[in-house]
């Protein structure tokens, strides 16, 4: 068990972060529901958060300094919450005008 854990390095976490990020991009590209797109954004931000925590962890890297890597995700999580609050207002406004939250219906402005 201990041997298995010892083999886990920063790179493994980076792969998790990258997979989260790519999943978020795919989610944003394919979802038509505005709230689904918002979930994709959460995945993007959390992909970056995983990177920060992995890079800043003393368990994974001997040369990690301080707690910065753990604190940055806290800031990002709070920001994501603030953005979600604004997103709900924007989605509600969109629903009032278009009677749907399908972002593919946002196609009238072009030229």
């Amino acid at each position: 068990m201990c041997g298995l854990l010892a083999q886990i390095t920063v790179s493994h976490y980076l792969v998790v972060g990258a997979v989260l990020f790519v999943t978020g991009v795919l989610c944003m590209a394919t979802k038509r529901n505005a709230l689904g797109v918002l979930m994709g954004i959460e995945l993007l931000l959390n992909g970056a958060n995983v990177n920060f925590v992995a890079f800043g962890s003393k368990l994974l890297r001997a040369d990690a300094l301080g707690l910065d890597g753990q604190l940055i995700p806290l800031f990002v999580i709070v920001l994501a919450a603030a953005e979600a609050a604004v997103a709900l207002a924007i989605a509600l406004n969109f629903y009032n005008n278009h009677t749907t939250v399908d972002v593919d219906k946002a196609e009238e402005l072009k030229g």
Binding site: D63, L65, D68, F75, E108
Partner: protein, 538 residues
């Protein structure tokens, strides 16, 4: 990082702005009304500006002498100082222009949100830490979403808000992902330009082992992409025309200026600062971005009939010109490319805001001026507005001797100077860039002159009412006046922009841990620079 009381002392203006903004939000619900709260907002900007001027005299003297100080997450230098005052002025102008924005009931929300945005802009000016920079940029983005949402309540506005919101969030996430990579590559430090004791990302990258370069490149490119969205560089510009068209003239003016100022400052602070001096891969990316951005923006603007779409493509093109300065700075840091970009940014921000202020003066929430044709005969019905609009458009087009011309001159001569001094390979690429820039300026003149021609040489179709109010009128005049000052007195702007170029600063070892250190005599006080500042600005 190591936040102490001196850091709080450095950011008190931003604290005051956020407190007053919160007060405006709360007070606006208790005592609704436009005038009182607008006057409070205006006087806040003015009082903060004047008190900052009075309190920071010693600081001004230090930074004008070329001192660069790192204090916790802040970097205190000439660029940060000048741009903070500029951002306050920008806030005052935008609040003036938006004094009639939106419904009466929501008036306080608008002025409070603009104040939050200005606080974010001022924080970006001096950000020297990854998470500080990111949070400050979000303090600009989130109020922008709210302002777009408050702008108007129709289908087009809802669509524009949704588009801007989601695309801006992707850009922020890309920026954050790039920052996380930079953080990991640089030995787990979040400070961007560090001191001798705390090396910072820049210092850590110099000791980077060869295997890490690809990870660093990923981070760098993602940061450039995220910030490229903010300045609307091609290929991240596609939101701009739709969003500008869908929203109000006031919001379009805000979008044309605030994210661009923040994006350029963040590019200077983060992207330029973390490129190792001998990196050969930085400038080709910027070169491609600059070429694409200015050409695509100008060519697309040629056949636009909607004024805000036209101005959107023109703002894309102007971002392209500014990227010329970054390319020059990446090829030859001492060539003054960043100074030229800062000069151009100032000139563009004032003239662009002036155009949108004039359009806001001609509009209200019942009818926004949309089409170029609606301006027909404006010179006869509203000669002053037409004059101010034409003046700002001439400046954007770069007609000599207006301010826009001096900005373009600084950018193009910067590139040409490197060509003349440089070696074969790089200099021919820069020559191509400079020539394309000049050709683009010619293309741009076509569509600006078309708008001016419609205003002056076409008979009026419908009489344009001017319900925008005194605030928008004052804003228009103030922007025009500032452009005029920069036009007749470009030497002042040139000197200040040159002195603000942080790449020229880094040549000297003037990095200290606390800005009030009495040991400042030990640092290179450049008497010539101080003298220039005394002559130029005081």
């Amino acid at each position: 990082m190591f936040v102490d009381l001196s850091t709080i002392g450095l950011v008190w203006p931003e604290f005051i702005l956020i407190l007053i903004a919160a007060w405006i939000y709360v007070g606006g619900t208790l005592a609704p009304g436009r005038t009182t709260w607008n006057v409070l907002a205006w006087s806040t900007y003015l009082v903060v500006f004047l008190v900052m001027l009075k309190n920071e005299r010693a600081l001004w003297h230090d930074v004008a002498a070329g001192l660069v100080a790192i204090n916790g997450p802040l970097i205190v230098d000439y660029l940060g100082q000048v741009s903070r005052y500029g951002c306050l002025l920008l806030g005052l102008l935008i609040t003036m222009i938006a004094s009639r924005a939106g419904a009466e009931r929501l008036a306080t929300e608008v002025s409070g949100t603009i104040m939050m945005l200005v606080a974010g802009l001022m924080l970006v000016c001096r950000a020297n830490e990854l998470v500080f920079l990111f949070v400050a940029l979000e303090l600009i983005s989130v109020p922008t979403y709210v302002l777009l949402f408050l702008g108007r309540a129709d289908r087009a506005s809802g669509e524009a808000t949704v588009k801007y919101f989601f695309l801006s969030l992707i850009a922020s996430a890309m920026l954050l992902y790039g920052m996380s990579t930079l953080y990991g590559v640089a030995d787990g430090t979040t400070v961007i330009s560090g001191t001798a004791e705390v090396p910072g990302i820049r210092g850590a990258l110099d000791r980077l082992p060869a295997g890490h370069t690809s990870l660093f490149l990923i981070g760098w490119v993602m940061v450039v992409c995220g910030l490229g969205f903010k300045i609307a560089a091609v290929p991240f510009h596609f939101y701009a025309p739709d969003v500008y068209e869908g929203t109000t003239n006031i919001n379009a003016g805000l979008l044309a200026v605030a994210p661009k100022v923040a994006g350029i400052l963040a590019l200077i602070r983060l992207v330029l600062a973390v490129v190792p001096a001998d990196a050969a891969w930085g400038w080709p990316l910027m070169w491609v971005l600059a070429m694409l951005t200015m050409t695509w923006g100008n060519v697309c603007a040629l056949w636009q009939q909607n004024l805000r779409r036209l101005m959107a493509f023109s703002s894309v093109a102007h971002a392209g010109y500014m990227l010329i300065g970054f390319t020059v700075a990446l090829v030859a840091p001492a060539a003054g490319g960043v100074g030229a970009t800062l000069l151009y940014l100032t000139v563009y921000a004032l003239a662009g805001l002036g155009v949108f202020a004039a359009l806001a003066y001609l509009s209200d929430e019942r009818h926004e001026v949309d089409g170029v044709a609606e301006l027909a005969g404006l010179a006869r019905s509203h000669p002053w507005v037409a004059g101010a609009l034409a003046f700002c458009l001439f400046s954007l087009a770069g007609i000599p001797p207006l301010a826009g011309f001096w900005g373009k001159l600084a950018l193009f001569t910067g590139a040409v100077r490197v060509v003349l001094a440089g070696d074969g390979g790089v200099s021919s690429w820069l020559l191509v860039l400079a020539v394309t820039g000049v050709l683009n300026a010619v293309i741009a003149a076509a569509y600006y002159l078309r708008v001016i021609g419609v205003m002056y040489f076409t008979a009026p179709v419908t009489r344009v009412a001017a319900p925008g109010g005194m605030g928008a009128m004052l804003g228009t005049l103030a922007c025009t006046l500032l452009v005029l000052v920069l036009s007749v007195w470009p030497g002042l702007a040139f000197r200040m922009a040159d002195a603000a170029d942080p790449l020229l600063r880094q040549a000297r070892p003037a990095v200290v841990a606390a800005w009030r250190m009495e040991a400042s005599a030990a640092f290179a006080h450049d008497g010539d620079l101080a003298g220039r500042w005394q002559k130029g600005g005081d």
